[in-house]
C-alpha cells in the first residue's frame, strides 16, 4: 500500500463536452467488507476506444461491469457514474433503460439458443418494436455494422449456436448495437477467440469506432495498442495511469506501469 502512495499517478482528463461517460470516486465492495475498487475517477471520451489493462484481479472487469449496473446484485457500488449529466449510480435510475443505452459484450460469446435473427430481434421486440419490416432492416443493419452480414445472410433462421466462436462474438456485438446504444462495454471480447477471429473482431471494432464510445477490458497488450486511443492501467483496485495509449505504452510515468507493460510484452 505504501508503495502505491509513492507511485506517481497520472489521470488524463477531458472537458465535459468531450465526455460520453465518467466516474467519480467509484468504489466497489463485495460482501460489505472486501473492497475491490478504490475511488476510481475516469472520464471516457466520445467516439473513441478506451482500453482498461492490468493484471487479473486488478479490478478492471469489476469497474467495467459497474458502469451499466451489472454488479448491482453481487456487490455494493459507491460513488458517481455520470451519463449525460445524470448520476446513473442512484437507486432511482431505471437500469433497464440505462442498459439499452450502455450495451455490453462479454468475455465468452453468449448468444441465445435461438436463430441468428431472433438473437437480434428478441430484445427489440421486448422493447416494443413490432413492425416486421423495421425489424428486418435493423437485423441487416446491425449485422452489417458488426461485419457479419455477408457470412450469415443466407442462414438468418438457423441456430446461432452453429456459428463459430468469432462469429458468435460478432453476433453479440450486433445484438448489442441493434438497440442503438451510445456506449459499448467490452469485457475481454477476444480472449476466447483464435487469432484469425480476433483480427476480424478488431476490424469490426475499428469500423465502429467513429460512431460509438467503447470501453474495453483486455489482457492483450498488443490488442490494446492496436485499437485503443486511450488506456487506463489498473493495479490492485486503483488506476495508476490513464493517458493516450501511445504514452502509456512507450512512456509510462510510474514504475509499476512500466514493469507491467514490459512484462506483458516480454
Amino acid at each position: 500500500m505504501d508503495d502505491l502512495k509513492k507511485e506517481p499517478t497520472y489521470i488524463k482528463t477531458f472537458s465535459s463536452d468531450e465526455l460520453a461517460l465518467s466516474t467519480k470516486n467509484l468504489s466497489v465492495l463485495y460482501g460489505g467488507t472486501i473492497q475491490k475498487l478504490f475511488n476510481v475517477s475516469l472520464g471516457f471520451k466520445k467516439n473513441a476506444i478506451t482500453a482498461l489493462i492490468g493484471a487479473s484481479g486488478s479490478g478492471k472487469s469489476t469497474f467495467l461491469r459497474s458502469l451499466n449496473r451489472m454488479n448491482d446484485k453481487v456487490a455494493t457500488v459507491k460513488g458517481n457514474i455520470i451519463f449525460h449529466g445524470l448520476d446513473v449510480n442512484k437507486p432511482n435510475i431505471n437500469v433497464y433503460e440505462l442498459r439499452k443505452n450502455i450495451g455490453m459484450v462479454f468475455q465468452k460469446p453468449n448468444p441465445f439458443p435461438k436463430s441468428i435473427r431472433a438473437n437480434i430481434t428478441y430484445a427489440l421486440k421486448a422493447d416494443g418494436q413490432k413492425d416486421k419490416q423495421k425489424l428486418d432492416q435493423i437485423v441487416e443493419e446491425s449485422l452489417r455494422a458488426a461485419a457479419l452480414w455477408d457470412e450469415v445472410k443466407d442462414k438468418l433462421d438457423k441456430s446461432a449456436l452453429a456459428l463459430s466462436g468469432g462469429q458468435q462474438q460478432r453476433l453479440c456485438i450486433a445484438r448489442a448495437i441493434a438497440l442503438k446504444p451510445e456506449i459499448l462495454l467490452l469485457d475481454e471480447p477476444a480472449s476466447a477467440l483464435d487469432p484469425v477471429s480476433t483480427a476480424k473482431l478488431e476490424d469490426t471494432l475499428k469500423q465502429l469506432r467513429s460512431r460509438y464510445t467503447m470501453v474495453m477490458v483486455t489482457h492483450n497488450m498488443q490488442q490494446a495498442s492496436r485499437i485503443s486511443e486511450y488506456t487506463a492501467f489498473f493495479h490492485l483496485g486503483h488506476v495508476l495511469e490513464y493517458d493516450v495509449t501511445s504514452n502509456v505504452f512507450t512512456n509510462p510515468k510510474g514504475r509499476i506501469t512500466e514493469k507491467y507493460i514490459q512484462g506483458s510484452f516480454g
Binding site: H84, L86, N94, E97, E141, S142, P181, E182
Partner: protein, 332 residues
Amino acid sequence: MSEKNDDLKKVVNQALAEQKVPHVKLDKMKPSTVDIDKLTKPSKETHQEYWGKGLTFLAIVLIILLVVSIIGFVGEHGLATFFSDHVNIIHFLTSTDWDPTQGKNHVGALAMIVTSFLVTLISALIAAPFAIAVALFMTEYSSKRSAKFLQSVTELLVGIPSVVYGFLGLTIIVPAIRNIFGGTGFGILAATLVLFVMVLPTITSLTVDALKAVPTELKNSSAALGATRWQTIYHVILRASTSRILTAIIFGMARAFGEALAVQMVIGNAVLMPYNLVSPSATLTSQLTSQMGNTVMGTLPNNALWSLALLLLLMSLLFNFLVHLIGKKGKK
C-alpha cells in the same frame, strides 16, 4: 380489341407492381439520442419485474403456509390428547398399555415407539454395509458400463411403489419366516427385511454421490504412495466422505421410520411390546394407517392417533436437523 388491350395492360402493370419490393434504405447503424427522462422513470421492465418477483414469491408463500399449517394442524390435534383429554404425557411415552377406547389411562404408545425405532435401526444397520459395498463397487471397482447399469437399476428400485414392496413381503418374506420360525410370520423381522430392501437403493445412491465427491487428486496421491486399493478406500475415500455417508444413512432411516403401508402389510398390527422379532407388533405408522378410519374425529381414540402422527412429524424434523448438523460439521 382495345378493351382487351387495356385489360392486359392492367394485369401486367399490377404484376409488375407486385414484383417490385419496396426499397428499404439501409442506414449505417448509429446510436439513437438518449432520452434522459426515461432513465429516471419506471418502464415496462420495471413492472414486469414486480410481477415476476411477486408471482414467484406467492408460490413460495403458499409452500411455507402449507408447511406451517401441516405442523399447526397436526400439532393442535396431537396435543389435544394431553391438553383437552388430559392424558399424562410421560404416561403416553412410557406405558405400553394402548387401548384408548378405555379412557385416558390406557393411552401408552411405548410399544409402537420401540417397534418403530427397532425396525428403523435394524433395517438401516443391515442396509448400510451393503449399500456402502455396492457404492464402492460402482465407484472404485466396476467398469463404467456396469456402474451405469447398476445406477439405473438402483434408481428404478427407489421408484418402485412401497405397496409393491409390501406385497412382495407378504407373499415371499412372511411365508418364509412362517416356515422357518413358526408362528404367523408377521412381525418385526418381516418389516425389517422389507424396509431393508426399500432403504437399500436410497442409501446406495446417496452414498455413490458421497464417494464421487471425493477429489480424484486425493485418491491418486494415495495410490502414488503405494497404497493398496483397500488402503486408499479405507484411509482416504471413506474418511473423506464419512459425513456424507452418515447423511445417506439418516435419509434411509427417515424413509424407514415414515414408511407406512409396506410395514403395515407385514408387521401383524398388534399393539404389543415386541418380545421377539417374529411376533406381531405395530409401528406408529402402521397403527395410524389401520386405525384412523375406525375412530371418530374429536374423540380420545382419534386424538391419540393424532398424537402418534405428531410423534412421526417430530421425528422427521429431528432427522432433518441431524442431516443439517452433520452437514455443518462435515464442512468444518
